[in-house]
């Protein structure tokens, strides 16, 4: 069997070239390819009759249990015969059907053979995964075949619809196979599954999934709408895919699994409901079609429902009839489609209202048409009759409620079938009053042959019912219930025969009243239209997706963050709530002062969140920070308080320096609703953090490591200031890393700000660099309130060198100067430097240390800069920050490495006590040098920040004439920046 599939594959690859080269006649030799499968099956007839099942197995992907296992039992044999035989006949038909110069014929031939090969694999493989693979291949190939006329929009849409529906089903089936295969006791082998069907919820779900796959492929309700749509395909495709082969895949799968699962309740009900509904709806709908092909399509839908209804029953006799009907249906339906193709080609239309007189004028189509229709409606002695008779016989035999329901459905369905069968014959071949005989083109005889062959075969199979019974009884015997049935032309006079008579009579009546039926159908809309339902579903899906996208993915960062926060809060809350939370002991406060400070912090925080002006927000944020400082101090931690206060101050300064370049206000407030939920979310996250803070310490069982710090700090670091000793000794490695990061960050900030003027980075701008023509520092349009006190312009004498401190020509614009600030600066600057040095050296035992000292120097420099402008900064610190940073890092690292030379370890501290006589005793710990390095790095960082975010931004502003707006208050003359939201302001740049 593998060889046969390989032949198909090779032929599929070769066909495009052959057909393009030699034209449509190449279809004839190519027909041998699917034909070979049928011939091969025929040669195996003896084995099959004897009950021998040839098996061929090639391992493909062992670890996944994917094997190419093929076996030819009766069912497979029947399907191979149909797939191969009808495939060959349809290909012969193609050799005449297409116009000589038709485009893309080569492609068509290749895909057609590929499809036949895939179908062949599908019906012979025993491995569910291989079956799924072939299944999807048939889907893809059928898509390409349906969409053959891809330049037509309708064909494209029909193909798309078919592929979506069947791929959906295929994937559902895949899930079913997967569950059946991977679950305990499951298997990927069809025969093993049937032999020992797994049970349980998972197995039931799996079976439902598999049935969904089968139902979509065989176009059962509610998935039936794709099949009529697929009639956009060329007629040979309809004849092959939609009558004989592809739609039979679902029927095949049901028949394949029924012996194992047909007694499962879920299975029975799904089969009964969908099968019945399909049989009835299909038959009913076909009664009003005017397009012969559509009439047949709905008829096919109806028949497929019928077939699945039969082969899905556990009853052996019913199943036997079902198998017989599979064969019969393939023959008569393919013949009918081919006939319609002939009519279409010859008369140029398929509309039964325009066709007239073909029965007489187009005998070549009429004869197979009549023969096949008789088989379809179940007239003796055709194959269809034999099958249907066996069904009625079997169902009248057992008299349960389920069987009675089934019988009723079959009878009603057969009536409908009879009626639309007659309608087809009448529509295609009758001479209608008032319609002129159709003009007919002469068609080559080859076009008629395949239809004839199939119709005759239908007759032959009907005449030899014993052969069918001998073949199929072996497979029917694997079904779990009932008694073996029989296939016969004459079953004696009984209820079955009576029912047949009834069917014929009522069917004829329905046909006679066809006008009435059509009008009734137009008037009554029977239930929801599945096609429209599908389209609505797709549209809804689209809309829902758009809605979800616009709700969750609008590109708003707060939105994204909101989602993440919500999830975190919810999941953490669930985690906390589900596990018996215990809150530790809570002491509200040590002193009422703490309560007061906490209140101020809270108010500050709320006001910060409410502030619209950036500056206000920053200042209020500062309030919370300084509140924490006070809390530290109240708690008795002056070192922490000192550090925190300085950090707050520096942060405030840096914030304000940056804010100068931003609009004064935050962007427009969000809408009220979103403001509220954002506030609520913020509060929730805060509450969660608080809850964690309360819960987690209580849950702690180990001693905190910090308990050891005081003694460790004194014994190994020789200092009493735990904060500082931690920095320079206990956690010295961390500090080393941090100052390295600081250095990188400072350099990064500088390089961004100086990006455009790389040459300037290496220079410090001092007073003497200022030229007389340069703009003033921080020019302002504000009125100078002290102007009357100053000497008039031009009369001022050049100040002497010694007096340039804060008042030099490069200092501020006059209206920016503040006498109080200048005086304070003069008083404070040097004092702060000395104080910083004091802290640096005393830091080991008292509050202070290199970090704090560095921050104080930084603040001193800030004061100088704010009081005197950018040239003044250059005067205050005529050194490049990079030099400070580098020296600092070098010193720290060097100091850390020195102990290595004395046999110590990196960053080890040593205490040196020196008696300095009158100055007292100096207690020196070597970690001081490390601390000096930290000090230098911090000073360097501060200088860098001032130089880049302060001075350089000033300079660029002066150069381009865009002074920073006054952010502290609204200028009397409002500038555009203030009133507009940020978005607009940003848009201008």
């Amino acid at each position: 069997m593998l060889q046969l599939i390989a032949v198909h594959l090779l032929a599929a690859l070769a066909a495009p070239a052959l057909v393009s080269r030699f034209g449509r006649r190449m279809f004839l030799p190519l027909a041998l390819v699917p034909g070979s499968a049928a011939i091969w099956a025929l040669t195996r007839l003896g084995d099959v009759l004897a009950g021998e099942v040839p098996v061929q197995s090639v391992s493909w992907v062992d670890s996944l249990d994917m094997h190419l296992t093929f076996r030819l039992d009766v069912l497979a044999w029947l399907m191979v015969l149909l797939v191969g035989g009808i495939g060959a006949l349809v290909m012969i038909y193609c050799a005449w059907y297409f116009a000589t110069g038709a485009k893309f014929l080569g492609r068509f031939a290749g895909i057609f053979i590929g499809f036949a090969g895939a179908m062949l694999g599908l019906v012979t493989t025993d491995n569910t995964l291989a079956l799924y693979t072939f299944w999807e291949l048939t889907t893809v190939f059928s898509y390409l075949l349906i969409g053959h006329y891809f330049t037509r929009k309708g064909a494209r849409r029909a193909g798309m619809q078919a592929i979506i529906v069947t791929t959906f089903g295929g994937l559902a089936m895949f899930a079913g196979f997967l569950i059946l295969g991977a679950m305990p006791g499951g298997s990927f082998s069809l025969s093993e599954l049937v032999r020992e069907p797994p049970a349980g919820t998972a197995a039931t779900v799996a079976i439902v999934c598999i049935l969904v796959g089968a139902l979509t492929k065989s176009a059962l309700v509610p998935f039936h709408f794709w099949l009529p749509g697929a009639m956009a395909a060329p007629t040979p495709v309809s004849a092959y895919l939609h009558a004989a082969a592809m739609v039979k895949a679902g029927v095949y799968l049901v028949a394949r699994l029924a012996p194992g699962f047909a007694e499962m309740d879920t299975w029975r009900w799904i089969i009964l409901i969908t099968g019945s509904a399909t049989m009835l709806i299909g038959g009913y709908r076909s009664l009003k079609q005017h397009d012969l092909k559509l009439l047949l399509a709905f008829g096919t839908v109806s028949q497929l429902g019928f077939l699945i209804l039969l082969v899905g029953q556990p009853n052996q006799a019913v199943a036997l009839a079902g198998l017989a009907l599979i064969g019969a249906h393939a023959m008569f339906k393919a013949a009918l489609f081919l006939t319609v193709g002939v009519i279409d080609a010859s008369a140029g239309t398929r509309d039964l209202r325009q066709l007239s007189g073909l029965g007489r004028n187009l005998r070549g189509a009429a004869i197979p048409g009549f023969l096949a229709t008789f088989s379809m409606v179940g007239l003796p002695p055709f194959a269809g009759y034999v099958g249907k008779e066996a069904v009625l016989e079997a169902l009248t035999h057992d008299g349960g409620a389920y069987e009675s329901a089934l019988l009723a459905v079959v009878v009603v369905g057969s009536v409908l079938t009879f009626a639309y069968g007659m309608r087809f014959l009448w529509g295609a071949f009758a001479r209608k009053p008032g319609v002129a005989d159709a003009q007919l083109d002469r068609e080559p005889p080859g076009l008629f042959v395949p239809g004839f062959v199939l119709a005759i075969l239908g007759l032959g199979a009907g005449l030899l019912p014993g052969l069918g019974e001998g073949l199929f009884e072996r497979y029917a015997a694997t079904y779990p219930a009932g008694e073996p049935g029989h296939l016969t032309l004459w079953g004696g006079i009984g209820p079955a025969l009576a029912l047949t008579v009834v069917i014929v009579a009522v069917g004829l009546g329905l046909f006679a009243a066809r006008g009435l039926v059509e009008r009734a159908q137009d008037a009554v809309i029977l239930g929801p239209d599945a096609d429209r339902g599908y389209r609505t579903l797709m549209r809804r899906l689209d809309r829902a997706a758009v809605a979800v996208t616009s709700a969750t993915q609008r590109g708003s960062l707060p939105g994204y963050l909101g989602i993440i926060l919500v999830v975190t809060v919810v999941s953490a809350a669930i985690a906390l709530g589900s596990s018996g939370v215990q809150i530790g002991q809570v002491r509200l406060f040590d002193s009422p002062a703490q309560l007061l400070v906490a209140g101020i912090i809270v108010i500050g925080a709320i006001l910060t969140a409410q502030a619209r002006r950036r500056l206000k927000a920053v200042v209020l944020l500062g309030v919370t920070g300084y509140g924490v400082v006070v809390l530290f101090a109240l708690h008795g931690a002056p070192d922490l308080a000192l550090t925190q206060a300085l950090v707050e101050t520096i942060a405030l300064v840096v914030f304000i320096l940056v804010l100068r370049r931003l609009p004064a206000y935050f962007s427009n407030r969000p809408l009220k609703s979103s403001r509220w939920w954002r506030a609520a979310l913020g509060a929730l996250v805060g509450v969660l953090a608080m809850a964690l803070a309360l819960i987690v310490p209580a849950a702690r069982v180990a001693d905190p490591i910090s308990v050891l710090f005081p003694t460790e700090a004194y014994e190994y670091g020789y200092g009493k200031n735990i904060v500082n000793v931690t920095l320079v000794d206990i956690r010295a490695w961390d500090t080393m890393g941090e100052i390295a990061v600081l250095l990188v960050a400072a350099t990064g900030v500088a390089s961004l700000v100086f990006a455009r003027t790389r040459t300037r980075t290496g220079r410090v701008e001092r007073m003497r660099d200022r030229r007389s023509g340069d703009a003033q520092v921080w020019p302002s349009e504000l009125e100078d309130p002290a102007s009357r006190l100053r000497p008039a312009q031009g009369t001022a004498t050049a100040p002497r060198r010694a007096r340039s401190w804060l008042t030099g020509p490069g200092a501020l614009a006059p209206n920016r100067r503040s006498v109080i600030f200048e005086v304070a600066t003069r008083l404070l600057f040097h004092t702060m430097l000395v104080f910083a040095l004091f802290l640096l050296f005393s830091g080991h035992n008292a509050p202070g240390g290199g970090f704090v000292a560095g921050l104080i120097v930084g603040i001193a420099l800030t004061v100088r800069y704010l009081a005197g402008g950018r040239y003044e900064l250059g005067e205050a610190a005529p050194i490049l920050p990079g030099a400070l940073l580098g020296t600092g890092l070098f010193l720290s690292a060097g100091a850390g490495a020195v102990p290595l030379f004395f046999g110590g370890v990196v960053l080890q501290s040593v205490k040196i006590d020196v008696d300095l006589g009158i100055l007292g005793e100096m207690h020196l710990v070597t970690s001081l040098f490390f601390d000096i390095g930290v000090f230098l790095v911090v000073v360097g960082l501060m200088l860098d920040v001032l130089r880049t975010l302060g001075a350089e931004i000033d300079r660029q502003g002066e150069a381009t004439g865009t002074a920073s707006p006054d952010i502290a208050h609204d200028s009397p003359r409002s500038s555009p920046d203030d009133s507009r939201p940020l978005v607009d302001a940003g848009g201008e740049h």
Partner: protein, 520 residues
């Protein structure tokens, strides 16, 4: 308090050392090599380093097979088969991704000539005119790959965190370097950074809680503490959840996925491909290690969370992908959906789960690099016929199959693989993951996953139909630009791998199934 330096097995660390060393050398090259040859030197260095690392990983694989797994650097990093497998997959995708990154498609570098210049400024125009190139890209990618190599091998939370940052920070930067649509690119970069910073914060918080719980950051100690410590479940659970948030963010699982579409769309496309493939591989490998090390005692508590996330990820990713009109966004959402599928294998918590995840990631990574590589080639044309940015609007791809069949066929292959159609690698990947999930008892997830796949097949197929069967819109003219060859090589390799892994996956499958043989 004595400090005992860990003994370091340099041979075992070789892959990481090679990549990070090359990255450092790359930084030095930036400083010292002349402009004219700098780019060439960087490219060669990067490609050679990745290739060498890959070879080294293969060598270490044989060593581990012979000698068993080992702890390195005092137990901070482990060398076992899952780690090496993940590193190998990362390196394969990174290597292919690097080929795409290095390609000057259409004669111009894919990155902005000067990242610090404001978009649209004269400064930028000047840099463009002078033909500057931002060659820092290559060391940045190498740093990121270095982090990705450590990530799956990290066996303590601190190392995991550091690896997370090492792999993320360069990516934040790289996301902002697109040559065209720079504002979009910078926005992507900023969003990625901010959201990434938040998730890192969550991760750190979780790390702290877990440390508080167990007194150790080592996975092994943590796992040992799980049954032992009674009464601290809150801390444990909260810690695990927060760490998971950090990892799931990197993976791009819903609801931590919101950055994915914006970042994938805004980033330079070659970087998107690299990032989409490699980050996901590394993050999933780390996630698996974390879960398998810590969770066995917590399965009952965590599986509702993981199930919910997996379901949401599959559904949201798929449904939103349907309506996308931008190819990069569509691929982004599809990558979200794929994260959901991989989560199935992760949730399985079986050894076949690990190997299936590895295989899936390889398959997905290869197809992703290939697909984004192809996106770099399809460009827009402006009114004068000049080739401009990438044609990412879906309708611009209409009819591409007729004008550039090879390109369209390759893209179709990748799409089919994403859709999980049989005979492509994606099918085998999906199959292994789903089968593992069923074995682990998660069959309802499999049903949902397959339904999601069906919906996903819809938009993949629609794209294929568009390329082959739709007439091109005259206004939305797009064209395909020439590559220097490396992208073509990468795409060809990806396409071949996609087919080969789909038709004869057995050798690779047996390799991945050995991935769980030696696990620490």
């Amino acid at each position: 308090m004595t400090f005992v330096p860990p003994s370091i097995d340099w041979a075992a660390l070789a892959p990481i050392v090679i990549v990070l060393g090359a990255a450092v050398v790359g930084v030095l090259i930036e400083a010292f090599v002349k402009d004219a040859v700098r780019r060439m030197v960087q490219v060669i260095l990067a490609v050679v380093a990745l290739g060498a690392a890959l070879v080294t990983v293969a060598w270490r694989w044989t060593v581990v097979q012979a000698q068993g797994p080992a702890e390195l650097v005092g137990g901070a990093i482990v060398e076992d088969t899952p780690a090496l497998m993940a590193q190998g997959v990362v390196l394969i995708c990174a290597f292919l991704g690097m080929l795409v990154i290095a390609d000057r498609v259409g004669g111009e570098d894919g990155f902005t000539p000067v990242a610090a210049g404001a978009p649209g400024s004269t400064y930028e125009a000047q840099a463009r005119r002078l033909g500057l190139v931002q060659t820092e890209v290559y060391p940045l990618v190498l740093f990121s790959v270095g982090g990705m190599l450590v990530f799956p091998a990290a066996s303590d939370l601190l190392t995991l965190f550091i690896a997370l940052e090492v792999l993320s920070l360069p990516l934040y930067l790289l996301a902002g370097l697109a040559r065209r649509r720079r504002l979009l690119s910078q926005e992507a970069s900023l969003k990625y950074f901010l959201l990434g910073a938040f998730s890192s914060a969550f991760f750190l918080m979780g790390l702290a809680l877990l440390y508080g719980y167990s007194g150790s950051v080592r996975f092994a100690d943590l796992a040992a503490a799980v049954p032992a410590m009674v009464g601290m479940d809150v801390v444990l659970l909260a810690g695990v959840v927060l760490v998971l948030v950090g990892l799931l963010f990197k993976v791009g699982a819903v609801p931590f996925h919101s950055w994915v579409p914006d970042v994938y769309q805004g980033s330079p496309t070659s970087i998107t491909g690299f990032m989409a493939a490699c980050t996901k591989i590394a993050a999933f490998a780390a996630l698996v290690r974390f879960l398998y090390a810590v969770v066995p005692g917590l399965t009952w508590d965590l599986s509702p969370l993981l199930w919910t996330i997996a379901i949401l990820t599959m559904i949201v990713g798929t449904v939103l992908a349907i309506v996308q009109t931008d190819i990069k966004r569509m691929l982004a959402y599809s990558s979200v959906a794929h994260a959901g599928f991989v989560l199935l294998g992760v949730i399985a918590l079986t050894s076949s789960g690990i190997s299936s995840v590895m295989f899936y990631l390889l398959v997905y990574g290869v197809a992703t690099v290939g697909a984004f590589g192809l996106v770099t080639l399809v460009r827009e044309r402006d009114a004068e016929g000049n080739v401009t940015g990438e044609a990412t609007r879906v309708e611009q791809w209409a009819g591409l199959g007729r004008r550039h069949p090879v390109l369209a066929v390759c893209f179709t292959l990748f799409l089919l693989s994403f859709a999980g159609i049989p005979l492509t690698a994606g099918f085998v990947g999906k199959f292994t993951v789903f089968a593992a999930a069923v074995e682990g008892g998660a069959w309802p997830l499999v049903v949902i996953a397959v339904l999601a796949s069906a919906a996903a097949a819809f938009f993949y197929v629609r794209m294929i139909v568009l390329m082959f069967f739709t007439d091109p819109d005259q206004d939305a003219g797009s064209t395909v630009v020439r590559t220097e060859g490396t992208t073509a090589i990468a795409v060809a390799v990806c396409a071949v791998a996609t087919v080969v892994l789909g038709v004869v996956p057995t050798p690779i499958l047996s390799l991945t199934s050995e991935a769980t043989k030696f696990m620490l």
